[in-house]
């Protein structure tokens, strides 16, 4: 394990960004989101949750796939180059990293999404332990340990120091490249980190959602959950906005569109939301015509369909962003609880 003084972080970021792109939480107009590090970036490592998770680093909100250029009656197609320049995502939380795991399931299984795969290959994740978890967090429900994130490098911010532990080969390589700025950690430091981990875990135990039960939610629950009358009331406040999907670390749906540049077309993909009325709209119409269906789809996907196809892995990581950001205070926890309650009433 290594450590670095907080005041030297800027030098660290500088060094990383000399050879790679560095993406980390930056505060812009009072909101903290992952962004490319620059000399004058307002780096914010204290805000627990960036508004959006860091998934953009691997799966950007919009990206061009290829460009067609028209010259008279000739048409040329230029595919967008795959990511080759290495980059580091610094400051993801354990839940965000888990989110990337979920995305891997989608994009790295056959057929492989080459754009995503290239980014994963060239990206190194430095994950940070959650110093002060908040009431909306429920990562433990999905087996994630916010105190000891699993990534290429794990870091802890304690007092005036940041502790650095390389976990994977990529992590080692990154560590090597910045070694001159890192100090070796001693036993007392190890102790401090352990203490921090304990403190985090203690707090997590106290959080209101930590003991949320996922009983009954698994890949086999399709029929029962899909047909439940609970949805009929539950969806009603839903605005059909895409906030929950866009802040979610695991939502992976995208739409493919053409942008007319006047002399050709840029085909791009951008995040889509199953909450939108035009989601998966086809020439023949829409397969989900009501908000109830769309609302149900999202949670069924997270808690039933995804585990059914991915060895029981839920596509929720308990980051709590939807809990915080839903304009109508709806969220996956309320859905789970509503079923729990209804189940209770039944029994």
């Amino acid at each position: 394990m290594y450590k670095i003084k907080k005041e030297n972080l800027k030098a660290l970021f500088q060094m990383i960004s000399e050879k790679q792109d560095l993406i980390l939480p930056v505060k812009k107009a009072e909101q903290t989101n992952f962004a490319l590090w620059t000399e004058d970036a307002d780096v914010d490592l204290t805000t627990l949750k960036t508004v959006k998770s860091g998934k953009d680093a691997f799966f950007p909100q919009s990206e061009t796939l290829y460009t067609c250029v028209r010259d008279g009656k000739k048409l040329s197609v230029e595919p967008e180059a795959l990511r080759e320049h290495p980059f580091v995502v610094f400051g993801m939380k354990a839940c965000d990293v888990k989110g990337v795991e979920v995305l891997d399931k989608v994009f790295l299984s056959d057929p492989v999404d080459t754009f995503y795969a290239a980014r994963r290959e060239h990206g190194t994740i430095v994950a940070m332990a959650c110093h002060e978890p908040e009431e909306s967090c429920f990562c433990k429900v999905f087996g994630t340990d916010a105190a000891d994130p699993v990534a290429d490098v794990a870091v802890w911010m304690i007092g005036e120091e940041l502790f650095w532990k390389a976990v994977t080969e990529k992590g080692n390589a990154l560590t090597e490249s910045v070694k001159e700025l890192l100090q070796d950690a001693d036993a007392a430091d190890e102790e401090a980190v352990s203490k921090e981990k304990e403190a985090i875990r203690t707090i997590i135990e106290k959080l209101p959602y930590t003991h949320l039960s996922l009983e009954g939610w698994d890949g086999n629950a399709t029929e029962e959950k899909f047909n439940s009358p609970v949805w009929n009331e539950l969806y009603k406040p839903c605005l059909a906005c895409g906030t929950c999907t866009f802040v979610c670390p695991t939502c992976q749906c995208y739409d493919i569109k053409d942008y007319d540049t006047g002399h050709g077309v840029k085909r791009y993909r951008c995040w889509d939301s199953c909450m939108y009325s035009d989601f998966t709209l086809m020439a023949g119409g829409n397969n989900r015509t009501t908000q109830l269906q769309r609302f149900r789809q999202r949670f069924m996907h997270k808690l039933v369909y995804f585990p059914a196809n991915n060895d029981g892995m839920y596509s929720c990581v308990g980051c709590g962003r939807c809990v915080e950001k839903c304009p109508e205070a709806l969220n996956i926890v309320k859905v789970i609880k509503a079923f729990e309650k209804q189940g209770g009433e039944k029994a």
């Binding site: 008279g72 009656k73 007319d260 540049t261 006047g262 002399h263 829409n286 009501t290």
Partner: protein, 662 residues
């Protein structure tokens, strides 16, 4: 995808001299949907049109772009050609590469580039064109003539003679207009009243003509073939059905100090009055502002003395609403106010008068019974100076930029008449140019000089200075002699500029007829459609369109009548199919479009919809195609884009924008 043919016109050298038409053809071929492109000398010619027709047939074109002159010129021509070939005429778009390109750009490369872009925009638009079917609307077989001067009377008579009903609306108590104020007319010197009065009588007696005097147009709605007009019949305070026109009321009226408008205020009239002897109708009107009865409640002399019991103080304004198929505007003119021309001392001396005032002074029915005398002292003037172009041809803000056209001739007339009747009077005319284009006009002017000894001096008058002895000192320059002249005069006559009647702006607004910066109504085409307004169904008669003398006015009045008759003779009109259309699935039913529609063409209905499987009853906008004129105000008010304009759809305009900007 459309199959588009592009036809590029050379317009002789009008286009081809500055636009490389071959290049435009070549570039057009690159555009999506274009399967045919060619150029030709004159696309609008018979041969050019048959090229279009053949291409449509042979290449199975579904859309046509003609790169040529303005669509305002030949859009209709090319649409008809397309129709002949079996193509929906609304699948034709014009790229205006003449007026908007070749004529204004000098550089060939630049103009060609622009022409290509304009062609592209038109191609982009055709790509999204959809066949449209014009609807039909009824024609109300009645015409309205606004203004009862010689122009209005002539138009009305011609329309009525063709068998259609005509209503004349005249603001004043009698028809007759300016011409009734004139003494003699040039170049024949016959008496104005003698030739006008029979026309007035004829109009009044015509069974197809209905005259609303002392009335004004208050509101106009509708469109060509189907105008609805509110006419305000102002309270005359005299029952027209009872009045015999005996005139006793005027004689008995105690309020007699009111400036007589007919005589340009040179004498007075009573509060109840008939404007002039030959007035039609020969029925007096009470000028309520000056009537003692109306001002104080006391008097009633006229009522007491009216044997027919025709006086009705309780009479109210009445609104008559009628439908018309065509409207002829004949609102005429006035002379400008001269209060800004201090140098001519018009407001300082009674002996400085306008030519129209002179007409009244010389008229036997005028304030001096036709004796030419100075208004200040009643003496016969010995030296009379005429000043031309007072307020005409001025580029300052005091006057008018145009030539009033009639002044040269009437001044020659006045000069001649004075010299004829009072040979010992010296008459001097100061002119800038003497303009006499007209049949027998120059001969007339020469007679004034050669036979009547009128002294014409080239040079504008600089100043008229009233002298203590009551004479006027005229300071001018003689440009041919290069001398400054100081000349004593007893009377100065100013040829004041004429301007359209003040009310014309209001009327033009009601009719949505366009008007130019001088308040003359604009014609649909300066040369080819001089008596039509760009607004369909509105025709222009007389000076409201531009300065004219009497024969021209009568000619134009007849022409306007013929155009109106041509319209009224149709049973039905095809309506513009470029109307708004609402998509019931996207409509919110919010009523905003209805609020901005100037024609009341939008209503709301509850309809059953199937919105991607959701079946429900919705309140949605429905456009009445017969009423919609296609302005598009509704389309912008509609936030969801449910309301769109056929032929100018949102996507079409956006496609044009894209084509231009790319």
């Amino acid at each position: 995808m459309q199959r588009i043919g592009v036809f590029v016109c050379h317009c002789g050298t009008n286009i081809a001299a500055t636009v490389d038409v071959k290049k435009v053809v070549e570039m057009a071929k690159m555009e999506p949907g274009v399967v045919h492109a060619e150029d030709y000398q004159y696309m609008c010619s018979e041969a050019g049109q048959s090229k279009i027709i053949n291409a449509i047939k042979e290449k199975h074109l579904t859309g046509v772009v003609v790169c040529s002159c303005s669509p305002r010129m030949h859009e209709a021509t090319f649409r008809k050609a397309a129709e002949k070939a079996g193509l929906n005429p609304y699948m034709v778009e014009i790229a205006n590469i003449r007026e908007h390109c070749s004529w204004i750009h000098k550089d060939m490369e630049e103009a060609t580039k622009k022409a290509v872009i304009l062609a592209r925009a038109a191609i982009a638009k055709v790509n999204l064109d959809a066949p449209l079917q014009p609807g039909e609307s009824q024609v109300t077989k009645r015409a309205l003539v606004i203004g009862g001067g010689i122009a209005g009377i002539q138009s009305a008579l011609d329309i009525a003679d063709a068998g259609y009903e005509v209503d004349i609306v005249e603001k004043l108590p009698s028809i007759g207009g300016r011409m009734s104020q004139l003494d003699k007319t040039f170049p024949t010197l016959d008496c104005s009243a003698c030739i006008l009065t029979p026309k007035m009588v004829e109009a009044a007696a015509h069974e197809k003509i209905n005259i609303y005097t002392y009335s004004e147009v208050e509101k106009v709605s509708g469109f060509v073939g189907d105008f609805t007009v509110d006419i305000r019949k102002k309270a005359r305070s005299v029952d027209m059905s009872k009045c015999t026109g005996c005139g006793v009321c005027s004689q008995k009226c105690p309020s007699k100090k009111i400036p007589n408008e007919f005589n340009r205020g040179l004498n007075n009239r009573s509060a109840i009055y008939i404007p002039f002897a030959q007035a039609i109708p020969n029925v007096p009107v009470i000028d309520r502002e000056n009537c003692i009865k109306f001002k104080t409640g006391k008097c009633g002399a006229c009522a007491k003395n009216c044997a027919a019991g025709a006086i009705d103080y309780e009479q109210q304004d009445e609104i008559v609403t009628k439908k018309y198929g065509a409207i002829v505007v004949a609102t005429g003119f006035d002379v400008i106010k001269l209060d800004q021309y201090d140098e001519y001392a018009y407001s300082q001396s009674k002996d400085v008068i306008t030519s129209l005032e002179l007409e009244r002074l010389m008229n036997a029915a005028g304030p001096t019974k036709g004796h030419l005398e100075r208004l200040s002292d009643g003496k016969a003037p010995k030296n009379i100076v005429f000043v031309q172009c007072v307020g005409s041809r001025c580029s300052d803000n005091r006057g008018k930029s145009y030539c009033s056209k009639i002044c040269c001739m009437y001044t020659a007339k006045h000069a001649m008449l004075i010299r004829d009747k009072y040979p010992d009077t010296n008459v001097t005319v100061f002119y800038i140019d003497v303009r006499t284009p007209g049949k027998n006009f120059d001969e007339f002017y020469r007679r004034a000089v050669e036979e009547y000894g009128v002294n014409y001096i080239k040079g504008q008058v600089g100043k008229v200075i009233p002298q203590p002895d009551g004479t006027l000192m005229v300071q001018a320059s003689d440009l041919l002699d290069n001398k400054q002249i100081l000349m004593e005069a007893d009377m100065v006559v100013l040829a004041a500029a004429i301007e359209p009647n003040k009310d014309v702006r209001k009327i033009a607004t009601m009719l949505t007829a366009s008007i130019d910066t001088n308040n003359f109504l604009t014609e649909a085409h300066a040369k080819l459609r001089p008596v039509e307004s760009p607004t369909a169904g509105i025709f222009l008669s007389g000076v409201c369109q531009g300065p004219k003398d009497i024969p021209e006015t009568v000619a134009q009045a007849g022409a306007a009548a013929v155009k109106a008759i041509g319209l009224l003779a149709k049973d039905k009109l095809t309506t513009n199919p470029c109307t708004a259309k609402a998509d019931p699935l996207a409509c919110n039913g919010c009523s905003q479009c209805m609020n901005v529609c100037p024609y009341g063409a939008i209503s709301y209905e509850d309809v059953q919809v199937n919105d991607h499987g959701v079946r429900e009853t919705r309140r949605v906008a429905v456009v009445n195609n017969a009423l919609c004129q296609g302005c598009g105000a509704c389309t912008v008010t509609c936030p969801s884009g449910a309301m769109d304009l056929q032929g100018f759809s949102n996507r079409q305009i956006i496609a044009e924008v894209d084509a231009i900007c790319r």
